[in-house]
């Protein structure tokens, strides 16, 4: 037993007296726990959401809506049919000017496929009062999904982007039911305040006048999603005549972030659904039961079907001996039974169904992205981090381990060449590895990457900073094994701190600041921007600039530390 104690005591002393072992075995787990804990401890904080409310009476003089139609000629035909006078315009400028000047009350823009290519037709209409609603009905009937737009610019841009092939503009006064309010629990709510009321626990809603502004902020990560409330949103909730289609735009280039946002939005909108439905359904169901039992039916005192049936039964009894009349009364009793039964079924059905809001989810990227698409940029960024740090550290420490530094110092090659040659090789290894991964992801696994050449530029910029971290590590290691351990110790927490695993917006503010001091954060942002959102060079110039700056600074620091240790 004494021997056992001696051996255990010896091993414990070896651990305590070896700084690396002490860090790896004792200190590091606490450090990792701290990093992950700090990243996740504020989980549940409100998701930043952008709200574009088109259900406002004051939004412009003209309202725009559009969609994708199979047969555009039918829309043009109906539009002209509803007009007191239809006018064909030669182009955009003339058509918009006529609408602005009030020469026409409505405008229809249609992209038609012809043999010689696409042609855009601009048709104006002078209409009678109330015709606007009919035109909207026509559009909703002939177009798959009607989208509302805040202004002409956004509507026409959607046409140019090929998102739809029909646009219709109406003067505001021709569009009914805008900006209505709903009475709930003793207060009036318009569309914005209703959404904010239900979303205040889980979201931080910022209102935007224009969808394009919100999209810009979504791409830059200032918000995690956009909710676009359609025109007549409140009217649709109140009347339940039709479902209110709410558009939700997500940044699917970050899967976790978009999942968080979607879950939050679905959660609080379902509460709107439930409570609106509940209050409305309660009234309807109560009305239905009044039809059966009698009483106050929306302000009118009525006799219920139960009473009608009982009366019919009494009449039938009174008519005993007159079978032809009894038969007629039986038909009435059966009808009453059937209607009572159907009303009860309908009431039960209504109590459990009819959600007034429907979500249509789309991506700010312009297409739905799969998990495979979204994960590729992060994987490539992590590969750059991993290989870059290891390559930078190992290539430098090899000289130390082989004890060749003193020999090389005497040769004609200066320190710049000795460090520079390693940087060239390390950059080549990191770049080629990441490039191969990128092309394999595209070619073999069918991942989406909209701008692969620009992605290669980002990879090159990101390589330098990762190798720089490796050089800094090399200054603290004397053997390859030590360099590998140190590299892993450094790289592992960075993975949690850069938004690769967990969205930055959900981290505490101080963790977001730390993330901004890590080059990998910019690499992930730039790669997702370039590959998934199709950002041009100007869209990721800031991130590339930050990567280059980090690269230069870390390479200079690493080289200085390595040289200083060698001195």
């Amino acid at each position: 037993m004494r021997g056992w104690t001696a051996l255990i005591s010896k091993d414990w002393k070896l651990v305590l007296r070896n700084r690396l072992l002490l860090v790896v075995l004792i200190v590091y787990p606490f450090l990792i726990m701290g990093v992950i804990g700090a990243a996740f401890y504020d989980v549940g904080r409100p998701v930043p959401i952008g709200l574009v409310n088109l259900d406002r009476a004051e939004v412009g003089d003209v309202i725009w809506m559009g969609g994708e139609a199979e047969k555009t000629s039918r829309i043009t035909g109906r539009f002209s049919m509803r007009a007191d006078e239809a006018v064909e315009f030669e182009g955009e400028e003339q058509a918009l000017s006529a609408l602005d000047e009030g020469e026409v009350d409505a405008l229809l823009v249609v992209v038609e496929e012809e043999e010689e290519g696409e042609t855009t037709r601009w048709t104006g209409a002078v209409t009678s009062e109330g015709m606007g609603e009919v035109m909207i009905d026509d559009l909703e009937y002939l177009v798959e999904t009607v989208c509302d737009y805040a202004n002409a610019g956004e509507a026409l841009e959607s046409l140019r982007q090929g998102e739809n092939n029909v646009l219709m503009a109406l003067r505001m006064e021709e569009y009914p039911y805008l900006g209505e309010t709903i009475w709930l629990e003793g207060e009036h709510y318009d569309a914005s305040s209703l959404v904010k009321r239900y979303g205040e626990d889980v979201t931080e809603i910022e209102e935007y006048a224009m969808e394009s502004q919100a999209r810009g902020d979504l791409k830059e990560g200032r918000i995690d999603a956009i909710i676009v409330l359609p025109r007549a949103f409140i009217h649709k909730l109140k009347t339940l005549e039709e479902i209110a289609g709410v558009r939700v735009i997500l940044d699917q280039s970050n899967l976790v972030k978009s999942e968080f946002a979607e879950t939050s939005i679905r959660g609080f909108l379902s509460r709107v659904n439930e409570e609106i439905t509940e209050s409305k359904m309660e009234a309807v169901v109560a009305g239905l039961y009044v039809l059966v039992g009698g009483g106050d039916f929306f302000g009118t005192e009525i006799v219920g079907l139960d009473q009608v049936r009982d009366d019919l039964i009494e009449i039938k009894e009174a008519l005993e001996g007159r079978p032809e009349l009894e038969e007629t009364v039986d038909i009435g009793i059966d009808l009453a039974d059937t209607v009572i039964e159907d009303i009860e079924d309908a009431a039960a059905y209504l109590e459990a169904t009819a959600l007034p809001i429907d979500l249509s989810i789309s991506s700010v990227v312009g297409r739905r992205l799969s998990a495979k698409d979204a994960v590729v940029p992060s994987l490539i960024a992590l590969s750059i981090l991993w290989t870059g740090i290891l390559c930078g550290a190992i290539l430098m420490v090899v000289e130390e381990e082989e004890r060749m530094r003193s020999r090389l110092r005497l040769t004609e090659m200066g320190p710049f060449a000795l460090v520079g040659s390693k940087l060239v090789l390390a950059t080549a290894v990191v770049f080629l590895q990441s490039a191969v991964m990128l092309f394999m992801a595209i070619a073999v696994f069918g991942a989406f990457a909209s701008n692969a050449p620009l992605a290669l530029l980002v990879i090159a910029a990101a390589s330098a900073s990762s190798i720089g971290i490796g050089l800094v590590i090399a200054a603290f290691a004397r053997q390859v094994a030590g360099a590998v351990i140190l590299s892993v110790l450094v790289a592992f927490p960075l993975i949690f701190m850069t938004g690769a695993v967990f969205p930055l917006s959900q981290m505490p503010t101080f963790m977001q600041w730390i993330a901004r001091a890590i080059p990998l954060t910019y690499a992930i942002e730039a790669l997702t921007g370039v590959m998934l959102r199709g950002e041009p060079l100007s869209g990721v110039a800031w991130q590339i600039g930050a990567l280059v700056a980090f690269g230069v600074a870390l390479l200079a620091l690493g080289s200085a530390l390595v040289r200083r240790r060698g001195a």
Binding site: V398, E402, R403, M404, S406, R409, L410, T411, G566, A567
Partner: protein, 303 residues
């Protein structure tokens, strides 16, 4: 060939070298001996430009020189204390790399590599990765790597440390041939046998200060003398005092043995035995070695 004047190096206030002055002549093998921590490796690092001195200068052909200068670097070679090479490269690849880094032409490099591999006896193993070499082979390669650019002066930092006697002897032979070729050799060692065997001149460095300098014979003569070790049947201190006084010798007891030392001891041996008479049970004559001299010197320094 090369000299250092008043060379000092402080590490955070601790003096590693203090006013060192040395001169190595062309074709001379100069040895620097001293205990661990005396400053030997620090001096080599300064001479090879790995660290800068706090004070003092290095003179090449009597002209001040900076170890970072290309002219100086091309004239000196280095064999570090631990074998230094790329273990996953072959001997040929290691030598070729260094030759190219020294700016030699490819053809010259190939010629020189063949010449050196033959010189150190590694021709048969040229294409084997060096990590599979024995320690002696590795040290021979290390020596050849220091010579690839034909330096006039080569620094060897404890080159035989950790080698077995055969490997050590083989390396001594190579060092002797360097001297024959007219190259200067600066060697640091704490192997006194090696210093005595290989060096033309020696300096003893203790705590960063050169305490003695001269040929091995001079050092031995200064610091020690031949000894006779006698075993006696009984305590005859009186007789020993008398003999010592009469012949100009000294004696001391070490356990059950008596150590008598002094000049021209071989001539006085018979007289000592006669003087001690029948009490002598055993006698062993020991020629003074550099190690004896060095140990005695270190004892004196400590006192």
């Amino acid at each position: 060939m090369i000299s250092v004047e008043d060379l000092s190096k402080d590490f955070n206030g601790v003096k590693a070298l203090d006013g060192v002055c040395l001169e190595i002549a062309a074709g001379e093998t100069f040895g620097l001996i001293g205990p661990n921590g005396a400053g030997k490796t620090t001096l080599i690092k300064i001479l090879t430009g790995q660290i800068t001195p706090t004070r003092g200068e290095i003179l090449l052909e009597r002209k001040p020189v900076n170890p970072g200068d290309a002219a100086y670097r091309l004239k000196v070679g280095l064999v570090p204390q631990e074998p230094a090479f790329y273990g996953r490269l072959t001997a040929r690849e290691n030598l070729r790399l260094l030759g190219l880094l020294y700016g030699m032409r490819k053809k010259d490099v190939e010629e020189r590599v063949g010449e050196l591999l033959s010189w150190v006896g590694l021709e048969e193993y040229v294409d084997r990765q060096v990590r599979f070499y024995s320690r002696g082979m590795q040290q021979r390669l290390s020596l050849s790597m220091g010579l690839v650019h034909r330096p006039d002066l080569i620094y060897l930092d404890e080159p035989t440390s950790g080698l077995d006697p055969t490997a050590r002897s083989s390396l001594w032979e190579l060092m002797a041939r360097l001297s024959e070729e007219g190259r200067s050799v600066f060697i640091t060692t704490h192997n006194m046998d090696e210093a005595d065997h290989v060096c033309d001149r020696l300096a003893i460095l203790v705590k960063g200060v050169v305490r003695e300098e001269g040929s091995p014979a001079h050092i031995k003569g200064l610091l020690g003398a031949d000894q006779v070790e006698v075993r006696l049947a009984r305590d005859v201190a009186g007789k020993l005092d008398e003999i010592s006084r009469g012949m100009g010798l000294t004696w001391r007891a070490e356990g059950d043995r008596i150590i008598i030392s002094g000049p021209e001891l071989t001539d006085k041996l018979a007289e000592i035995v006669i003087g001690l008479g029948g009490d002598v049970r055993g006698l062993h004559y020991r020629e003074v070695t550099l190690e004896d001299a060095f140990l005695r010197f270190m004892r004196e320094v400590a006192e």
